[in-house]
Amino acid sequence: MKRKYLGVIILAAILMMNIVFTQYMVHQYYYENYENVLIFGGLNIVLFPLAVFAYKKTINMRA
């Protein structure tokens, strides 16, 4: 695997997790498990700085 695609792969994985967490969050909301809503909402928010970090770390990688 070419190293220069590492960042793209990581970011795509983060986005995938975002989708999964959002889905959980909404469902848990309607099930009225509000603690879980907070947990998944929190995870979603944590993923953003993580994405920024991954971007900065990998953007200058050369092939």
Partner: protein, 174 residues
């Protein structure tokens, strides 16, 4: 290619001299990754309202008693018929069904799939969602067919002096 790049001094007005196509910079890996990061940001921001509402519910505002609301008179509702009403808020559609002489059930009738209004089909004894043919059990509100996976939230009702009142929305038993 011509020898325009071989001239000395090199005729360069910006760093994009080696770009062959319009918008090439917009299609590169860096731009794509920025879009991905931006999308993660959108997810993060859009989680906030859900978290806020959930926190509000957790802080004890959830189990509030709504003022009892009169739905209809018993005499207006023959056995097997249904009437729609709003509870607890003015925009929360709900349905009351009289199953027998003394048995009433009420649910918030926004389908748990995509919130279409569920209606009561007397002949089939089922609640049906018109949008994707979801079906719900009338006794419990549990989904029996189609896309919905969660039961309809049940509303407690009470009969007093020939009138039917909505008391409150039952919570799911987890």
């Amino acid at each position: 290619m011509s020898d325009k790049n071989n001239k000395i001094p090199f005729n360069e007005d910006n760093y994009t001299h080696n770009i062959e196509r319009n918008n090439e910079r917009k299609l590169d890996r860096r731009g794509f990754m920025k879009t991905l990061v931006g999308a993660a940001g959108v997810f993060a921001v859009s989680s906030l309202p859900w978290g806020a509402v959930a926190a509000k519910e957790l802080m004890g505002l959830g189990e509030k008693e709504y003022p009892h609301k009169k739905i209809t008179e018993v005499s207006n509702l023959p056995i097997g018929d249904a009437v729609e009403f709003k509870f607890p808020g003015d925009h929360d559609d709900a349905i009351l069904i009289r199953l027998s002489e003394n048995k009433y059930v009420a649910y918030q009738n926004a389908c748990t799939h995509l919130r279409c209004p569920v209606f009561w089909v007397k002949e089939q004894g089922e609640m049906i969602c018109p949008c994707h043919h979801g079906k719900f059990d009338v006794e419990t509100g549990a989904p029996t067919a189609g896309p919905p996976r969660r039961p309809l939230p049940e509303i407690q009702v009470k009969v007093e002096n020939g009138s039917i009142y909505a008391v409150r929305v039952k919570r799911y038993e987890a």
